[in-house]
């Protein structure tokens, strides 16, 4: 395991996680299905987690990995409440197409 730093530059991890983050943004922008948008947000959170772990490992600072642990807690909370809201919306509107949720727009 110790030759990881020698063989993989930190830049590779930065490029990989920014690519995944941009794919997540693409998913949020392209899709109209609210559940797929939620999954894209999870993807973005995970890309940031990967970057935090990479920086934490490459600078030998355990704070980054504890932050990732807390981000995972936040993500779990967000998903639980968000999916409950989605089920509620589906019960009232009978669709999770976000184009139909325009009551706040005027």
């Amino acid at each position: 395991m110790n030759e990881t730093i020698q063989s993989i530059p930190l830049n590779y991890y930065i490029v990989l996680s920014s690519a995944l983050f941009c794919i997540g943004i693409l998913g949020v922008l392209v899709k109209r299905n609210a559940i797929i948008m939620f999954m894209s947000i999870e993807l973005m959170l995970n890309a940031v987690n990967l970057l935090l772990v990479a920086f934490s490992a490459y600078s030998q600072n355990p704070a980054g990995q504890t932050f990732v642990f807390f981000i995972m807690i936040i993500a779990a909370v967000e998903v639980a409440v968000g999916l409950a809201i989605l089920v509620m919306i589906f019960r009232n509107v009978h669709s999770i197409d976000i184009e139909k949720l325009q009551n706040l727009k005027w």
Partner: protein
């Protein structure tokens, strides 16, 4: 050897992430996302962060994605799979995301990041090391997060009720 593993895991992660966005069926999207999270766990193991690798599989691939799958199947969304925006909006989204990626990569290219002063990975990501850190330095946030989880449970139950 390690570099090859890195490339394979990265290819799996990026292809699965693209398939999450591109596939028409929401169930397929969820399954691709689970595969993507397993690739992430592989990356964590590569960086000697065993604790986070295991937690990632248990929490993300285990709990969160099962919740997603449960909701997708409960709402029965397979029939309304033609939920895509117009071609102009799609093209604009692709251009926007691609431009953001270009900007990030270009700015990283000019940064000098290899001078962090560390030459090898230590025993940083083991359960013991993370546990010591969590229960000494970050004890208060750790306890507060339990309150957060409790409020999430209450909120989800409240939202799930038929009548408020």
């Amino acid at each position: 050897m390690i570099l090859t593993t890195f490339y394979i895991l990265s290819a799996i992660a990026i292809v699965c992430a693209l398939m999450v966005v591109l596939s028409k069926n929401p169930v397929h999207s969820v399954l691709y996302l689970v595969t993507c999270f397993f690739a992430f766990s592989g990356h964590y193991i590569l960086m000697n962060a065993q604790f986070l690798a295991v937690v990632n599989i248990i929490v993300y691939a285990g709990a969160i994605m099962v919740l997603f799958l449960f909701v997708v199947m409960m709402l029965n969304l397979n029939k309304q799979n033609q939920l895509d925006k117009s071609n102009v909006a799609r093209l604009a989204s692709v251009i926007g995301a691609g431009a953001l990626l270009l900007i990030i990569v270009a700015s990283v290219k000019s940064a000098e990041l290899d001078i962090l002063g560390v030459t090898q990975l230590g025993e940083l990501g083991t359960v013991q090391a993370i546990g010591k850190e969590l229960f000494s330095t970050y004890l208060l946030p750790f306890e507060i997060s339990s309150v957060l989880l409790f409020s999430a449970i209450v909120g989800a139950i409240l939202l799930g009720k038929k009548e408020i």
